[in-house]
Amino acid sequence: MLVILTFIILFHVISGILLFISTINNAWWVISAPGGSVIYTDLWYSCNVTCLPVKNSASTDAAYLQAVQATMILSTILCCVGFFVFILQLFRLKQGERFIFTAVVQLLSGLCVMIGASIYTAEREGFTEESLRKGGYGSSYVLAWVSFPMTLISGLMYLVLRKRK
């Protein structure tokens, strides 16, 4: 029981950390300019040597960018809340019952990541300015997509887990 518990908690914490990094690090889109400098951009700043706020972030064109920001923040919040709910349920549940509340929160968090990453993939052209269009997906983007199956599996594990003595 203790081994399973440690594994599940570790899994949850790792997915939470991945979500944090993906949300905060500004590396969803990487442009390697011909001059040799590398520009990392999205979700919050475009960084070269100095960081400038993402252009157009105050107009209706950036509505999709703001939606991605919102869903990523939501998924991170839900993952953290899910962790606390899990600890709470660990001490409050009766024997043999399932951690349904935790599972629901984790699944919602996974849903939010998926929504955020999908919107970013689909609408990236709309809110990136012309000079930054050519490039490749960065590390934060990959982390966001990786944390989606992790939160999904974590939620399903909570759904299957039963409380033992």
């Binding site: 972030s57 107009s59 209706t60 950036a62 509505a63 703001q66 939606a67 919102a70 923040i73 939501l74």
Partner: protein
């Protein structure tokens, strides 16, 4: 001792405002407007002195990219003087109330060339030391959404909805549990009365004792069963 403290506090209160007797001017930080619309730029001030009759307001404008600021409005001696030669001639109107420390101006029919910084400076003699305050005007074709408005509203709406669902769920559970508890309490009450009734009937006549005894035994059994269920 107390009198000394009281005297000291009065003296201090008397001294402190005199030292910080600077006038504080408030305007907005940034104003957004559509092309062709009107906008009211507000300017107000805070001063420890009463509003004097010689209060003055003056607005100056520095276009985006220009180096110098030009004066476009001045209120002094109880009369407003608006721009009649510069970029705002016939477009500027004084809508403030100097008696209430309000020196706001109204700009009509805005254009893209009106992007810039507007500075308000107010003086309330003898309170003349202060820093002028600036408001930036941005003119757009269509009104922009400020950074973070959509983000904040999505997050707030979803979290609020989740909280509501959780609260409703626990409320339903609590109500259902209470209903079950009330029902079981009323059942217990009825059974108790039934038992008393059968015992009374047993007293006077013994020939009908058997069915009433059976009844009592049955009700006793039912009571025990319900207790077991509750456990």
């Amino acid at each position: 001792m107390l009198t000394i403290l009281a005297l000291a506090s009065v003296v201090l209160l008397g001294i402190v405002p005199q030292q910080s007797e600077a006038i504080v001017i408030y305007t907005g930080w940034e104003r957004h407007a559509l092309v062709g619309s009107d906008i009211r730029l507000s300017c107000s001030f805070f001063s420890w002195r009463w509003t004097s009759d010689d209060v003055t307001f003056s607005w100056s404008y520095r276009a985006d990219g220009a180096r110098d600021a030009i004066s476009i409005f001045h209120y002094t001696g109880g009369a407003p003087y608006v721009d009649n030669k510069g970029p705002f001639r016939d477009r500027l109107e004084f809508v403030g109330n100097p008696g209430r420390r309000d020196g706001s101006i109204l700009l009509k029919n805005l254009d893209f060339g009106d992007n810039g910084t507007f500075t308000c400076d107010a003086k309330n003699p003898p309170d003349i030391v202060g820093r002028a305050s600036s408001v930036r005007l941005l003119v757009f074709e269509k009104v922009p959404i400020q950074a973070g408005v959509i983000t904040g509203s999505i997050i707030g709406a979803v979290l609020g909805l989740l909280l509501l669902i959780v609260v409703i769920y626990y409320l339903m559970r609590f109500l259902v549990a209470r209903r079950v508890f009330n029902l079981s309490v009323s059942k217990h009450g009825k059974k108790g009365k039934g038992k008393e009734g059968s015992q009374q009937r047993q007293g006077p006549t013994l020939s009908i004792g058997d069915p009433s005894k059976l009844k009592a035994a049955a009700s006793e059994k039912k009571k025990q069963e319900s207790r077991k269920d509750k456990k």
